[in-house]
Subunit: 156 residues, 2 copies
């Protein structure tokens, strides 16, 4: 686990502000190299699947020319939702590092523990709450700017 990759994920998250998207960013790392990056583009692309993690995973698979991201780590500023946690399993990602917790939709520790379900026959190492204050601070500033707490304004 290397905090500098979380800084890179935070830089991605900042890009989402420009499009009015909830600021969540992600990077996929393998062998010490970033092979995929992504930031939330749900609003920008009007695509319900365009979460930061999904875009980073897809770019990483394209980089490797393989859907199997064995040995790769995903760094993301917010706890993954069920869709993204499922994609982490499907992509055979080895390690997940996330920053802020998501009490509304987090599927790793907050609402459920999808990555700890042994029936999926794929184990993921999880490091949670890494750079938590920076990750959650960015989200808080975004929602303060909106002056709105409508549930549909979460990334999920």
């Amino acid at each position: 686990m290397n905090r500098s990759y979380m800084k890179a994920a935070l830089q991605e998250a900042v890009k989402a502000f420009a499009t009015g998207d909830v600021p969540v960013g992600a990077v996929v790392v393998k062998d010490g190299k970033i092979i995929g990056t992504g930031f939330n583009k749900r609003e920008a692309c009007q695509d319900p699947t365009a979460h930061a993690e999904m875009l980073a995973i897809r770019e990483a698979a394209e980089s490797l020319g393989s859907w199997r991201l064995t040995g790769a780590s995903l760094y993301v500023t917010l706890e993954p939702c069920p869709m993204c946690a499922g994609a982490i399993i499907n992509a055979r990602i080895q390690k997940l590092v996330f920053g802020a917790y998501d009490p509304k939709a987090g599927a790793v520790v907050s609402l459920m523990g999808l990555l700890y379900d042994e029936r999926f026959n794929h184990a993921v190492e999880v490091y949670d709450g890494i750079c938590h204050d920076q990750c959650s601070g960015l989200l808080r500033r975004f929602f303060q700017g909106l002056r709105c707490d409508d549930a549909d304004n979460s990334e999920r």
Copy 2:
């Protein structure tokens, strides 16, 4: 619930054979019209997120110009995995109709009941086992052809 849309999903599933992908197909329907189609392209595109449901949902969102697929139904030949069940929630899909059950990765009734979790604040009507024999028969013929029961040859 209209079985003719499951037939359309089955036609999509058949297309996956040609690329060596597990034959799963999906369509998204709104106001009596198919607005998104997809078939499993994990192997063809080497994309771990390219499940039939994801591609159909993305196409439907593009058709509508909105990530909110409110009032839409998703028909898919195989029970959704956690990623796809999560995408159904994220896209605010109203109704899910699926054919075959997936005892290895099904996140709707087989391994868990993601769509019945009231904490997500979005209810999805579920119709399961529709055209079950045709959907599961297609999968069985595919795996018999492979003569292989390796878990990694499932769509998931």
